[in-house]
Amino acid sequence: MNESTHVSKQFDEDLFGLRTHVLEMGGLVESQIRAAVGAYASGETGVVKDIVESDHRVNAYEKIIDDETVTVIAKRQPTASDLRLVMGITKIVTDLERIGDEAKKIAKGARRVHEHGLPSLPRAADVRHVAEEAVTMLRDSLDCFARLDASKAAAVIHADAKVDSEFKATVRQLITYMMEDPRTISTALDIIWICRSIERIGDHAKNVAEHVIYIAEGRDIRHTGKEA
C-alpha cells in the first residue's frame, strides 16, 4: 500500500511528509488529552493554560496539512490508493482538530471542578478509567494509520462501544448523586461535560480508524453498522 514507489521520487516524499505531519499532529493532540485528564485527576490546574494555548499549534498543523494536501492534489493529481490516502488525510485531520478542541474543554472543565466544585463527589477513578480507554483508542487508531493496518483499525472501532457504555454508566451514577443532594448539581454537570468530551474523543478516534480502513482497503464502512 502506497509503499510502492512512484516514478517521481518527490511525489513519494510529499506523501510521506504529509503522513508524518498528520501523525505529529496526532501526537500533539494525544499529549493534550493526557495532560488534561491528568490535570483533572490530580487537581493541578496550572497546566490548563498550557493546554489551552497549545491548541494554536494544533490549529496551525491543520492549516499546514490542508495546504499540503491541496498542493499534492494540484501538482500530482493522485489516483487510486494515493487519492484515497490524500482524501483520508483531510478527514482524519478534521477529526484530530476536534479532539484537540475536546481536550481544551476537558482542561477547562477540570479547572472549574477543582476551583469551585464540591470535593465530596467521587470523581477521579471512573472518569480517569474512561479517559484511559479513549486515549488508548486514539493511540491505536494513529498506530493503524502509521502502519495502514486495517484489521487493527477494526478492533478500534469495536472498542468505541465500551467507551460509550462506560460514559452512560458514569452519567447514571452522577444522576443519583444529584438526586440525593442538589448542591452537587453544578459540579456533577461539569463532570458530565468532561465525560461527554471523553466520549466524543472515542467517537473521533473511531472515525480515524474508519478512514484508515478506507485508505487501506478502499471500503467505506461509515454508517454501515457492524460490518467492520
Binding site: E3, F16, R19, T20, L23, E24, G26, G27, L28, E30, S31, R34, V135, R139, L142, D143, A146, R147, D149
Partner: protein, 430 residues
C-alpha cells in the same frame, strides 16, 4: 591462458577435421568432404550440448549441482563451481557475522534503534520494541516519529541537537520515564539509544526530597532558636519573660536533637549487621514497656489496652522496642482525648502479628503508600504540632524489614487506623 585454450580447441578441431578429410579421401572426394562435415557437425553438437548444460546451470547456480564436461569444458566448469563454492562460503560466513552482530544488539540492555537519514527505522532490538511500541516486522522503513509521536520527541528529533539525551514519559506505559539519545554514526546514519530511567528518576527524586526535607526540618527550629537568641541579646527583658523564652528555646533544641537522633537511628539501622536470629525476646516484658511509655505520653487521656496471645520471637530487642514504641506513640498522638487504643500481640496461622488499633483521626488512603517515606507527612501542621519528626514510620519500616516483617496499614479518614507488623514463622521462638 585464454590463447592456449583457444589454441587447444582450434588445434583439436583442425587435426580431427584433417584426419576425417584424409580418411574420406581414401574412398572418394565426396566421402572426404562428407566425413569432414560430419566431424565438424559432431564437434559443434558436443559444444552445443555443453553450452546448454551451462545455460541450465546458470539459471540456478549451485556448487552441489552436477556440472561436468570434457576437455576445456571440464576446466571451465570446475572453475565456475569452485568460484560458486567460494561465494557460498563467504555468504555463510557473513551471515554468521551479521547474526552475531544482531545477537549482540539484542544482548544490550538498552533499547537500540538504527535510523537512516530520513529518521526511518532500519533495525531495532527487542528492548526498543517493548519500550517504544515498535513492531520491527511491520514498521521497518517507517519514520520513527510516526510511531513515537510525543511532541517533545518529535521536536528533539527535528531540532538536530543531539548533544544531550531527552527525558520523556512514555504514553504506552503509564508512569514510565525514558531517556532517549540520538547518536550519529557513519555519516548520515543515526543510532537511537533508549533507556528506561524510571527507577533512577524516582531515586533521584527521593534523594532530592530527602536533602531538602532534612534542611527544612532542621532549619525551622534553628530559625526560631536564633531569633530568640537575638532577642535575648538585644533586649533587656524581665526575668520571667527571659525564662519563658529560654523554655521555648529549650523545646526547639530538643526537637532538633530528636530529629538528629532519629536520623542516626535510621543510619544505624541501615549500616548495622542483620539482627540476631537466635536471641529470644521476652515479648510480654517488651510490650508492657511499650504500653507504659504510651501511657506516660498519653497522660491518662486515652484508654490503652494490651492483649498478649502469641509467644516470644527471635530478633533484636532494641530495634523492635523502638518500632513497636513508635507505632504506639503515633496512635497516642493522632487520637483525640478519650480515644481507645488497643495493642494486640497475636498469632494468625504461622505468622505473629503485632497490631495497634486506634479510633483517632485516620489517614486518607491516598497517603498510605508513601507514609513510610522519610519526612512524608499526610498532615503537615498536625504532625509537627504533636512533636513528630517525620521519621518514625521510616524507622519502623526499616526495623521491621530487618526482621523480614512487613508493615501493613489500613485506615480511612475519620475512622481510625490499624497498623500491623506481620512477622514470618521463621522468627517464632520455639
Amino acid at each position: 591462458m585464454v590463447n592456449s585454450m583457444l589454441f587447444q580447441v582450434v588445434a583439436k578441431t583442425a587435426v580431427g577435421a584433417a584426419i576425417a578429410l584424409a580418411l574420406g579421401m581414401l574412398v572418394s572426394p565426396v566421402f572426404g568432404w562428407g566425413f569432414f562435415s560430419v566431424f565438424l557437425l559432431v564437434q559443434m553438437a558436443s559444444h552445443l550440448g555443453y553450452f546448454l548444460r551451462l545455460e541450465a546451470w546458470s539459471r540456478n547456480p549451485s556448487p552441489d549441482r552436477d556440472l561436468d564436461g570434457d576437455g576445456i569444458w571440464h576446466e571451465i566448469f570446475s572453475r565456475l563451481i569452485r568460484h560458486e563454492r567460494q561465494l557460498h562460503a563467504d555468504i555463510a560466513r557473513r551471515d554468521q557475522d551479521l547474526k552475531q552482530v544482531a545477537a549482540a544488539g539484542q544482548a544490550i540492555v538498552d533499547g537500540i534503534v538504527t535510523l537512516d537519514s530520513g529518521n526511518r527505522i532500519g533495525w531495532c532490538n527487542r528492548t526498543a520494541e517493548r519500550l517504544l511500541g515498535i513492531d520491527l516486522k511491520v514498521d521497518r522503513g517507517l519514520p520513527i516519529a510516526n510511531l513515537v509521536r510525543q511532541p517533545e520527541f518529535v521536536s528533539y528529533l527535528a531540532a538536530g541537537d543531539y548533544s544531550r539525551p531527552l527525558r520523556m514519559s512514555i504514553e504506552r506505559q503509564e508512569d514510565r520515564v525514558l531517556s532517549v539519545h540520538v547518536l550519529p554514526y557513519a555519516g548520515n546514519e543515526r543510532l537511537l539509544q533508549v533507556r528506561d530511567v524510571t527507577d533512577i528518576e524516582r531515586l533521584d527524586h527521593m534523594r532530592r526530597d530527602f536533602v531538602a526535607n532534612v534542611s527544612h526540618e532542621l532549619r525551622t527550629p534553628l530559625t526560631v532558636l536564633s531569633g530568640f537568641v537575638e532577642t535575648l541579646r538585644e533586649l533587656d527583658l524581665e526575668p520571667d519573660e527571659q525564662a519563658r523564652y529560654l523554655g521555648m528555646m529549650f523545646d526547639q533544641s530538643v526537637r532538633m536533637q530528636q530529629i538528629v537522633q532519629d536520623l542516626l537511628t535510621l543510619s544505624t539501622l541501615e549500616s548495622s549487621p542483620p539482627p540476631p536470629e537466635r536471641d529470644r525476646i521476652n515479648m510480654s516484658a517488651l510490650l508492657a514497656n511499650v504500653k507504659r511509655d504510651a501511657e506516660v505520653l498519653s497522660g491518662g487521656r486515652h484508654h490503652i489496652s494490651l492483649q498478649i496471645e502469641a509467644g516470644d520471637i527471635y530478633g533484636s530487642e532494641s530495634e523492635l522496642h523502638s518500632a513497636f514504641g513508635n507505632l504506639a506513640t503515633n496512635a497516642v498522638r493522632y487520637t483525640p482525648d478519650g480515644g481507645q487504643i488497643s495493642l494486640y500481640w497475636k498469632t494468625e496461622g504461622e505468622q505473629s502479628i503485632y497490631s495497634v488499633t486506634d479510633n483517632g483521626v485516620g489517614i486518607d488512603p491516598k497517603h498510605i503508600p508513601r507514609l513510610t517515606e522519610r519526612f512524608y507527612r499526610a498532615d503537615l501542621g498536625r504532625s509537627r504540632e504533636t512533636g513528630g519528626t517525620g521519621l518514625g514510620l521510616a524507622i519502623v519500616k526499616h526495623a521491621l524489614s530487618r526482621h523480614q516483617a512487613v508493615l501493613d496499614i489500613t485506615s480511612n479518614r475519620g475512622e481510625g487506623s490499624c497498623f500491623k507488623a506481620v512477622f514470618p514463622a521463621a522468627r517464632r521462638a520455639a
